[in-house]
Amino acid sequence: MGMLLVLGGTLVLWKPHLAATSVLDTHISEPTAASTPEPTPEPTPLYRESGSAVDADTYLQDGRKVEILPGQSYWGMERLAVTVKEHRCRYMTGSGTLLPDYQCGDPVPESEAVEDEWFSDACFIGNSLQQGFMLYGGLRTADIFATQSISITNIYYEDVVNTGDGLISIMDAMAQKQYSKVFILLGINELGFSKGYFTESYGALIDQVRELEPDAQIYLESITPITKAESDSESMFTASRVNSFNELIRQLAADKEAHYLNIFDVWVGEDGYMPGGYTADGVHPYPRFYPLILDYLKTHTITEVRK
């Protein structure tokens, strides 16, 4: 596999074992896309290169896709024309791997773990489970505003964040700073809502977060599992409602261009419930299980490719 370099806005293809004998820097910028009055859905040829140093269907670091068209032989190797599709790939993992097949609403796929610093421009908001993550998850680089009883309705007005000078709401606390990433963990306290009201209210919350944090990617964390005993009790917490509300959250991620993080998988047993040994009340895991959420978040990262 060769290397692909972008130098001063031009593309250079380099194949190590041929570098000594091949002239591979014959890069010709052809900004035909810019000069074409009307864009076409066809690949936009921005560069044409001599030499074969990239594979077809690979992606540049800026998200453009490389296509190699049949060419002619050149110094003993196949001469190829390279066409680059502009911004075909919109998302990449936190560690920089492009995700051409990913769409919002898909569960964020597993990827190479990032460092805690990746979350230094992140804000986490949510309910008691998010507070548990704040207390016991082990992440020290992000801002986390969360407490028990918070839902998609009272997150706007319930003054619960202690500033030292008084209490403010979670939304007001978040709005004090511009973040690049906002993680939302809500839904368990809303299991008694109608599905229509939940979708409408959660959607409005996402819109509000986007208005307050216009440059942020928004991550919707799934509702976490409950125990079978809790599900079988008389409470509003049932496994089937958790599952159906998670489907609503996933659909919201698709509709609102947010990212769905399926943290449900972290604490679920093979039977679809949280194991009884994980929790005292059937809903909130013991502190020792929260670092597993951090591990999940660090290995399920996604961000928009820088344009």
Partner: protein
């Protein structure tokens, strides 16, 4: 005159605070090790779940305290299943009133949040228990406040 009156009030407040602390005929036993004291107290079964020590910086954020509010701070928190908490501070006597007030403010907030969230936890918050001893302050929300009282009686006997 106003200044002297304020000073008098401050002295009175400190006096009242000290008088609320557990006292006996003998000189008060000092709490040499806050962590060991907390472990002993939690071992009595006064708390219905195992409380976990959290990072002091996070505890300060939660309570709205400055990181240098006390020379030592221990925050033992619930998993989220209950409203139970235990916090201990080692601080200068003149800071004790302020820290106690912060703890009481948090307790009031917790009461208002739990009232609609888990009403069964509200009595625990109402039966909160605190004590001061020399340079140590403890504020607790146990499941069984009588066990805490019994422990303190035994500890300072």
């Amino acid at each position: 005159v106003k200044r002297h009156f304020c000073a008098f009030l401050s002295i009175l407040a400190v006096f009242l605070l000290c008088s609320c602390a557990k006292q006996s005929e003998e000189p008060s036993k000092k709490i040499a090790d806050l962590s060991a004291f907390a472990q002993e107290l939690m071992a009595t079964g006064a708390f219905s779940e195992e409380l976990s020590l959290v990072d002091a910086e996070i505890g300060c954020d939660l309570y709205g305290l400055e990181p240098d509010a006390a020379s030592e701070m221990l925050f033992y928190m619930s998993s989220g299943a209950t409203a139970e908490e235990l916090v201990l501070f080692r601080c200068a006597p003149e800071k004790m009133n302020g820290i106690l007030k912060v703890c009481q403010n948090r307790n009031e907030l917790q009461k208002s949040l739990y009232a609609s969230y888990k009403p069964e936890e509200v009595p625990k918050l109402e039966n909160n228990i605190w004590m001061t001893c020399d340079d140590a302050l403890m504020f607790g929300v146990p499941a069984d406040s009588q066990k805490v009282t019994d422990f303190l009686d035994g500890y300072f006997k």
